[in-house]
Assembly symmetry: C2
Homo-oligomer: 340 residues x 2
């Protein structure tokens, strides 16, 4: 089953069931008005939504045209966005680039930060930033939405709580992060609003590509229209979603609708740093990573961060080349505060 949220006159948008090929959709106001409404009552509502989804597949005249650009993020606002850093390769490169050792515990104890979840960007919304000097970067990620998870959940409970899967752009302001992390309280300004894919899908929609806790497909990142990354989300993921969810729930329960992220997808190459796509590698899911590799190789970064007018497209395709989640497709724009 594929679900999306269309922009509408209210803050939480309008829930729609979407056809597998993303061509048509149908609103279901009698079953659930919003995505959070479904998640609050998944067991009761989801079987009925599945019936609608089946009808969309059986009857190609059923439903209205689905327009990705009219969507909100599936949850326009959520009660939780907890983002892991499961591709430890990426974390190790960050450290190597600044000449620091990574603590060995990072291979066994997940890194995770509490993100802001009150104001997500729609997948085709611009990324508005006040200043290019903030160091604007994309981070291509996988994210899951969970049902209620009890405090202290074990891995089995954690995996069983995964209800929906999305892809994400965890927008990052690299220029603000070092100072912010130096203060010791984690990210705040360095992580502005994130965006999620137009469509969220249930695990069974992914077939064999979903192993219960990992998604074994390349995450396609196009930067200014050219291929920039195609790292496989199932490779080098040190902590799977079960482990990330259990980590998040160690000292408190997670409310249905909580979103757990994988962190930037990152693949090694021959056990070392990856290569760009133009050099025959799988590229990168964020600009920071190529800059770290440039720093390791030549002493300093060469690739600049994003400028106003730059675009990023993040998508994932199935074995037949069809888009699974629709595309995150965003342009960076200058933001000017108003005094009004």
């Amino acid at each position: 089953m594929k679900l999306a949220t269309l922009k509408s006159g209210n803050r939480d948008g309008r829930l729609v069931v979407v056809s597998k090929d993303l061509s048509r959709c149908v609103a279901v106001p009698d079953l659930a008005a919003t995505m959070q409404g479904v998640l609050d009552n998944w067991e009761a509502v989801s079987p009925k939504l599945s019936e609608i989804a089946q009808k969309l597949e059986n009857d190609t005249s059923f439903g209205e045209k689905f327009d990705e650009s009219a969507t909100h993020s599936p949850l326009p606002r959520a009660y939780q966005w907890a983002d892991g850093s499961a591709y430890v390769n990426h974390v190790e490169l960050v450290r190597r680039a600044r000449g620091a050792e990574m603590p060995p515990s990072f291979w066994t104890d997940p890194l995770m930060y509490q993100g802001g979840s009150d104001s997500f960007l729609a997948p085709h919304d611009p990324i508005r930033v006040a200043d290019e000097a903030y160091g604007i970067d994309m981070e291509g990620e996988i994210a899951v939405i969970v049902d209620d998870v009890p405090m202290g959940a074990n891995l089995e409970q954690a995996r069983a709580a995964i209800r929906l899967i999305m892809i994400a752009n965890d927008v990052s302001l690299r220029g603000l992060i070092p100072g912010e992390l130096g203060k010791g309280f984690g990210f705040f300004h360095g992580k502005p609003s994130s965006a999620f894919s137009p469509v969220a899908v249930t695990p069974e929609e992914l077939g064999d590509a979903w192993d219960g806790a990992k998604l074994n497909l390349p995450l396609l990142i196009d930067y200014n229209g050219a291929p920039f990354g195609k790292a496989n989300a199932g490779i080098d993921m040190t902590f799977d979603f079960g482990e990330l969810i259990a980590h998040a729930a160690k000292t408190r329960p997670l409310c249905a609708g909580s979103i757990i992220g994988s962190g930037t997808v990152s693949n090694k190459l021959d056990d070392g740093p990856g290569k760009s796509i133009t050099e025959g590698g799988d590229g990168y899911s964020c600009i920071a990573e190529i800059r770290m590799i440039e720093t390791i190789n030549s002493g300093k970064p060469v690739t600049p961060f994003m400028k106003f007018g730059d675009t990023v497209r993040i998508e994932m395709k199935d074995a037949n080349g069809a888009s699974i989640f629709g595309a995150i497709d965003q342009k960076v724009e200058k933001y000017t505060p108003t005094d009004a």
Copy 2:
């Protein structure tokens, strides 16, 4: 106007308007079913709620009995909980106790962490923790709920967005924090579910005690039935709520219903560390602070963190000694995960 959320069969509870003396309340399903519903539409709904509040004052036979112990936190779950550390005295003591200098920028650039907001405790709910070794502590704080705040809001916009004021217990697990902060991504396990006061009040309800961005009254902390703290929330607050809100909104907008916290209320005494109430001082709003002062004075902490069975009560009284927000009243209990 005073508002509360009664526990009910659903996740977001049932909104009620509460009389000033906290004796009676009335549900307003025709105006708004939930607290978030009011905040989503404050301008339209709040004048009507004010009329109900006025009726509660004028007619003492109107409404049902208000029972603090039947309340959720005003927002049982919220889209954002961003907690500052505005009483820099507290931060300086933390540093001094471990022999570290506090960066001078901490006096001008607020510390703030993104907290979990999906699963708050009700104000009379137990604090359930798996292990006493986690170092269980209370943190008595002031918190505000804001309306929509645009990205890059100035101080005037930030202050004007304050809709409701509460007191809070930002439960902290001190034993988990040093290791967690050492990982560099901020708090996660060290900050389990927070609790907020039974009642949230509008600024005008506080009269002269509210100066537009600070609350000039003592925050009363009772620990195991004995007075433990009475620090004045208006004193030594280096960053007022306008500054905290503007800080939170620097790189992203804040959605209506976002909660911004002050951090542990902490007062200096004669420009030095405070004294306990039994020694004639104003005491502390968390156990960590007395432990830091013990460490500074005698090389090691003496007061233990909370044990299973310990209780904490957090309240604030007006000039006439009447409770403004009702009391947070919690007992620490052992939590045992279930495999079911």
